[in-house]
Assembly symmetry: C2
Homo-oligomer: 245 residues x 2
């Protein structure tokens, strides 16, 4: 940052990372603002990934429950279901909900089986894989199903991962469905992006013709009300700023 | 970076992070060279931490061995020893040596006990804690003992952590001991720093009076030879550059 120092009566240069003045002592590196922002974003992402990946401290003896737990998916259309063995330490460390379930006096801890009725076998495997490695391949369906699981079991890092994916895939066609989905699963970023897309790009006069609009107004009229409110608030703001110009 | 573009016949500014030309389009951020280097170092450290913390993929069924393994320390001066329960997934993921020991047909895997004769109870607990959380408090003794364990069980991230700590604590008094230790446990950075400190700060004429020198020349004369060689190579280089000046 370049600024005028009134007490010294000269132009000064301040490092935009450590905030120290250059004072002629150290060489400056020119980087673009985009890169500077990207660095900060990347650091934040790294730190959140690291805090996700750190395990809980080791169990202290006497250890009464250890080893594997079986996560059981819903039954598939062909009658099959998955039963995926997962290390307890992974479940405990990644999810406060699983951690509570695995407290010694809970049924899940005794039986060593946790049912995940919201997950198909495929989604369950993807879920478990992420818990171990913080990596999994997403498509639209898997991102949606994983976000639901991540929200339910409070795996915040995975939820954010899915939400970022879904946010970058909001379109004119799926905006209303995405908006309703985001509201249901408390995905704030996705909801904001979907709402903006709706109120800025969809003609409110023809909105009510859309099938997804009709469905949502049946299921959750409050959400439709919020859409209209956002639309008119935005409209008023736009008009104001037009007047100012 | 500022450079002269001969084809355009004008001065250009290039972002030192993405290497793109500014071209008047984007604003520049001035950061100091120290910060730029620190960013790169930090990113490297973060990425190595992340790759350390990621667990191996979940075990695929049928799972024959699971649960906890007991790590047993050496016997303490008061006759006690520690027996620390550790999740197999943690051992498998953090150390290729433990991973091999825990292959299904190995004795350690069957008995569920791994002896760690190099570790006192205190050091073993610190070691296990690091395997789970990538955090532990170091002092000089613990750093040395942990480095030995980390080297033996190929826990590279921990080894580097200890080596950085020891490197910043090399002094005139412990330089020779550090140099020999680093050689024994293949700690290259520490060895380089200790060697430089010796050849640049200790008078080679009086070196041979030091007790630690005498001990080392008994135990490992090859290392002493290398010290002398480094000393004279450095001396020749210094003379050359003096001549140039």
């Amino acid at each position: 940052m370049v600024y005028y120092d009134y007490s010294e009566r000269k132009w000064q240069l301040r490092c935009e990372m450590c905030n120290e003045e250059f004072g002629g002592r150290v060489a400056a590196a020119w980087i673009c603002k985009e890169c500077l922002q990207e660095v900060h974003r990347k650091m934040d992402r790294f730190m959140s990934l690291i805090s996700f990946l750190r395990l809980d401290p080791p169990p202290s003896p006497p250890v009464t429950s250890s080893g594997l737990v079986l996560l059981q998916s819903a039954v598939n259309s062909d009658g099959a279901f998955a039963s995926v063995p997962v290390d307890r330490v992974v479940l405990r460390s990644r999810s406060p909900v699983f951690k509570a379930m695995l407290a010694t006096d809970m049924e899940e801890s005794r039986t060593g089986v946790i049912k995940i009725p919201d997950a198909t076998p495929k989604v369950l495997e993807s879920f478990v894989s992420y818990l171990y490695t913080a990596e999994t391949t997403l498509d639209e369906d898997i991102a949606r199903d994983l976000l639901i699981l991540a929200d339910k079991y409070q795996v915040d890092h995975l939820k954010e991962f899915c939400e970022r994916y879904m946010t970058s895939n909001v379109t004119y066609d799926n905006a209303i469905v995405s908006y309703a989905f985001a509201h249901l699963h408390n995905a704030k970023l996705l909801q904001d992006v979907a709402r903006s897309l709706i109120i800025e790009n969809i003609d409110m006069g023809t909105l009510m013709e859309r099938e997804d609009y009709k469905e949502l107004s049946e299921q959750d009229p409050h959400l439709i009300v919020k859409l209209y409110e956002a639309y008119y608030t935005n409209l008023a703001r736009t008009k104001d700023s037009n007047v100012e110009v």
